[in-house]
């Protein structure tokens, strides 16, 4: 079988490995190298080694620091709301009724929709004069709200959009893990006369704790990188109010062609993600 083993390695593993390294790993390494270079595409000079100059400049770059803060606010707010809503909906849906699988499919639909198109959908819904949201608020005597034109509100509009998009993901993970809790636990709680609140805090939440942590981790990592929705809905405006890190990097690299500088931003954003990741990893492991 030794010949077979070698053939599996050479035919099945090595080509795929080379492909992965060439297309994914090498560019990531190159981005790190780039972050130490002074390279603006619009000038005729090629890349020049600049040491940590890009990083030093970044820490005095107010628009960049603001985009970091904004992205953190967005990530924490969106993830928290999605977690709470997802939990409530999962508890509500954790029962038997006719047409359950169809209802579940309908509730999960937003999760798979193309992010750029989600931007289009909510761009129309949030329109200040002709959109249905301001019309409905008008019936209640509120508004009109400048969802995408008021710098104080635009980020909230993006958060609402994200909550619609990703609450189903939280709901799906939480419901799937709740279905693995043995029914006897609930039955004995019922016999003991536990209230709904006690059941939730003393049985459900402790039993699905690991899933909750993983769900929050996965969701906050992808929320941190949000790009398509603000790109479509506001282009990062008004007055940079919705410019997230990804949008800021995109603009620096492909609008202003500051490649080395954008590379440094990428590295900083990844380090921030890793920091968050390690905190979560510790919580999952050691408790």
């Amino acid at each position: 079988m030794d010949v077979q083993r070698r053939r599996v390695i050479w035919l099945f593993l090595i080509p795929g490995m080379a492909y992965l390294i060439f297309v994914r790993i090498a560019p990531a390494v190159f981005t790190v190298l780039l972050s130490f270079a002074d390279w603006t595409l619009t000038s005729s000079k090629g890349p020049v080694f600049a040491g940590i100059a890009n990083y030093v400049a970044l820490f005095h770059d107010v628009p960049f620091l603001r985009s970091v803060g904004r992205t953190i606010v967005f990530t924490v707010a969106a993830t928290t709301i999605e977690l709470l809503l997802g939990f409530v909906i999962a508890v509500f849906m954790h029962r038997e009724f006719r047409g359950k699988s169809l209802v579940r499919a309908a509730l999960l639909a937003p999760m798979v929709i193309t992010p750029a198109i989600i931007g289009v959908i909510w761009y129309i819904l949030f329109h200040e004069t002709a959109g249905p949201i301001n019309w409905a608020l008008g019936l209640l005597g509120v508004g009109p709200v400048g969802w995408l034109s008021d710098p104080n509100i635009a980020l909230i509009a993006i958060i609402i959009t994200d909550v619609w998009h990703w609450t189903p993901f939280m709901f799906l993970l939480i419901l799937s893990s709740m279905q693995m809790i043995p029914d006897e636990l609930y039955e004995s709680a019922e016999v003991d006369g536990a209230t709904g609140w006690q059941v939730a805090t003393e049985i459900t939440i402790p039993m699905i704790r690991d899933t909750l942590l993983v769900a929050v981790l996965l969701r906050s990592m992808s929320a941190f990188e949000i790009f398509a929705e603000p790109f479509v809905m506001t282009g990062g405006g008004p007055a940079d109010a919705t410019t997230t890190i990804s949008l800021h990097i995109y603009k620096s690299a492909f609008l202003f062609f500051k490649m080395g500088y954008a590379g440094a931003m990428v590295v900083v954003s990844i380090l921030l993600l890793l920091a968050v990741f390690s905190i979560y990893a510790r919580m999952v492991k050691f408790e």
Binding site: I25, A28, I124, W135, M259
Partner: protein, 277 residues
């Protein structure tokens, strides 16, 4: 099974809750469909019109003047071929990781999963330079090769868990019977992991179909995918924009909605793969 006392009020409460949830979940998509069927004259009407005679004008306009069909076909090509490539290469790699032990296997396996944590923005700058330098900008092939590589770690991860469940004796027996390695892989192994292939295939298709940043950066006009071309309509004048945007948007999410409704069981399994122990 949990026992619930079903009173009339309880039933009405549950029914109302479900109705509200379904409304919140589907209304935004329904409103886009509605907008795509509106004639231009009432597009920006105040208050918004919910009852009108639907028209296909926006779709006709989209397909004729917007040449949307071309870009839609680009999207299909990119999603289908990059999924095929990722599933093919990824399943073979997962097979090697499961069946053959060698020095440094763990390290190599870790290395294959590592890119899963790089969002597209981390590698797009060098990829942009490389693609430009070798003259591969604005080509569907470029998108296929790049997107397939992005899907690869997930395919390896999911397929590994499916392949592990196959007894090694089965493969050895096939080889002793005179099968070549390729025959054993395609005729014995793959049919046994079909549920895994379907699940991971659907997720790869959806993720690639939904990709935005990479096609935005690596295409100019010829190889644009559906979500990218729709945005270029935003630059035309206000009135026409909503009709085109919503018609294009609806056509873009149609295959994905169909997929998720028909195959939501597979989808749920695949999306949560690895997240639940």
């Amino acid at each position: 099974m949990m026992m619930h006392r079903r009173t009339w009020t309880g039933r009405i409460g549950i029914g109302t809750g479900i109705a509200v949830l379904i409304f919140l979940s589907l209304f935004p998509v329904y409103y886009m469909l509605l907008t795509s069927l509106k004639p231009d004259s009432i597009m920006l009407a105040r208050p918004p019109r919910f009852l009108f005679t639907p028209t296909l004008d926006n779709y006709v306009h989209l397909l004729q003047e917007g040449k949307f069909g071309r870009y839609y076909i680009n999207s299909i090509n990119v999603a289908v071929w990059s999924t095929a490539l990722a599933v093919y290469v990824g399943t073979m790699m997962a097979f090697a990781f499961v069946r053959v032990s060698f020095k440094g296997r763990k390290l190599l396996f870790f290395l294959t999963l590592l890119p899963q944590s790089f969002p597209p923005v981390t590698t797009i700058i060098p990829v942009f330079f490389f693609v430009r330098a070798v003259g591969m900008m604005d080509q569907v092939t470029t998108l296929i090769v790049f997107e397939a590589a992005v899907r690869l770690p997930l395919v390896i991860w999911v397929m590994r868990s499916f392949l592990r469940a196959i007894p090694g004796d089965l493969i050895d027996a096939a080889l002793l019977d005179g099968c070549t390695l390729r025959q054993a892989f395609f005729r014995v192994v793959l049919p046994l992991v079909r549920p895994g292939l379907v699940a991971v295939g659907i997720i790869s298709f959806i993720d690639t179909w939904n990709a935005f940043l990479v096609p935005l950066v690596l295409t100019d006009f010829k190889a644009m995918t559906a979500p990218v071309i729709i945005l270029s309509y935003m630059e035309s004048d206000e009135k026409l924009v909503w009709g085109l945007l919503s018609a294009g948007g609806f056509l873009t999410i149609l295959p994905i909605l169909a997929f998720s409704l028909v195959l939501h069981r597979y989808l749920a399994r695949g999306l949560t793969a690895g997240a639940i122990k």
